[in-house]
Symmetry: C2
Subunit: 259 residues, 2 copies
């Protein structure tokens, strides 16, 4: 009875199926009724009705009459509330804005979500070049400063289950050995911040620090990123220390990110 897509759930079946459809659309972009039905192993009339429910609330939209479906703008509105809620609880925007102002580079907050890094808030830096939108994007753990921070303090067993089996080489300096990655994490724990220097993308460098909950567990990461030449000029160690200090201010706030 369980569906193999994105894990089984004992929740309300039709609701769970509808939410699985959203995840399929997030991964595939534009998908038809028949493909969704095949993926979820349900009848196409069931898929059509579930999509109609999502359509009526603007969570999906149809490209043309009887055409393929994609995610809809209703999600943007709901997600905007998430970011506003995060700020209103933790007051993180004040700190991320101050850091973006001080360094001129983009500042993000990210969490671990399904064993990968998800960017949940962003304040853009003043520089124009590479003014990338990270919000809502997902990146790997092994080659990002945020990923290193989010896993460095995990219990070893938990960490092993989070890390991928094979470290994909995405840039010239990607760490691909698990032994070397563990050494890197030891350095992160020692320093209190992480650096990813042309590891996810050539010419791109990031520095991240941990945001902790009241049990001292790392629940989010704050990260400054930008082109390698500019980041190097800022002084990565100096930025790291300052970031760690600011992250600590955020760590003191109650009920911030999902614990």
């Amino acid at each position: 009875m369980g569906n193999s897509f994105s894990g089984e759930s004992s929740a309300v079946q039709s609701v769970d199926r509808a939410l699985q459809i959203l995840e399929i659309l997030a991964q595939e972009g534009e998908v038809g009724v028949t493909d969704i039905a095949a993926t979820l192993n349900i009848h196409k009339s069931t898929a059509s009705r579930l999509l109609a429910a999502l359509l009526s609330r603007n969570l999906v939209e149809q490209l043309s009459d009887r055409g393929k479906y994609r995610l809809g703008i209703g999600l943007v509105r709901l997600a905007g509330t998430v970011s506003s809620n995060l700020d209103s609880v933790s007051g993180s925007r004040e700190i991320t804005r101050a850091l973006a102002d001080q360094y001129g580079e983009t500042v993000n907050i990210a969490v671990l979500n399904e064993n990968r890094v998800l960017y949940v808030d962003q304040v853009a830096g003043s520089h124009i070049m590479t003014m990338r939108s990270w919000l809502g994007q997902i990146v790997p753990v092994h080659c990002t400063a945020t990923g290193k921070v989010l896993v460095a303090w995990l219990p070893e067993k938990t960490r092993k289950s989070v890390l991928p089996n094979k470290f994909e080489k995405l840039a010239s300096r990607t760490i691909t050995s698990i032994t070397q990655f563990e050494k890197e994490l030891a350095t992160v724990r020692e320093r209190g911040y992480a650096i990813a220097d042309e590891e996810m993308e050539d010419g791109f460098t990031a520095v991240a620090a941990p945001i902790r909950n009241s049990h001292q567990e790392v629940i989010a990461a704050i990260v400054i990123s930008g082109p390698t030449n500019r980041m190097t000029k800022l002084g990565l160690a100096s930025v790291g220390k300052n970031l760690a200090k600011n992250a600590q201010l955020l760590s003191g706030n109650p009920t911030s990110w999902q614990e």
Copy 2:
């Protein structure tokens, strides 16, 4: 049998209820099971189970064990896909980034959603002050440049149903007379772009232009905004004309925003 919250739907009832819960959380922030049940006129065990389904997919999160619920970060990830999809189809980011670079102010794209303006994409300007996050936010139609653009070309009947009964005065220069607002829309149609000069917020000015579909219907608006003194220095008419021209480049692309 229909529920009065956010209109009735003939869609899959349990899915529609779950999505209504998301909308309640978007509006109220943090809400308990009992309140949700009361709002939707369902049993609290039903509400609890629907929330459990949303929880299992990270679309909501619970503040503490047995505590209130709020929207979850799974929405941020899904919404990130919406923005990426919009860009990959319309290529809007190239144009919005170029405009942000040229003027140094924040550029957004917005659509009409439930008779209000919803910001669906944003590129921040290079200035630090008022680096506000519009993405996912909802603002009124009557006192925003984007709102004026989104309704100016609507058939009169449609426009009347979109506009609020009473124009709330939100800033020193808010237009509160419907007669004057219609005159303003005539100016917008003549110029091809709209200006909101300290109408939604004192000290804040925006210029917007229409993005059209293949039937020449206005389906989105592109807007530049910033502090009134800086925007005035840029020359509002000049910015407006340039914006209209750039918006036209976007209007040519197929299957952009929801039609």
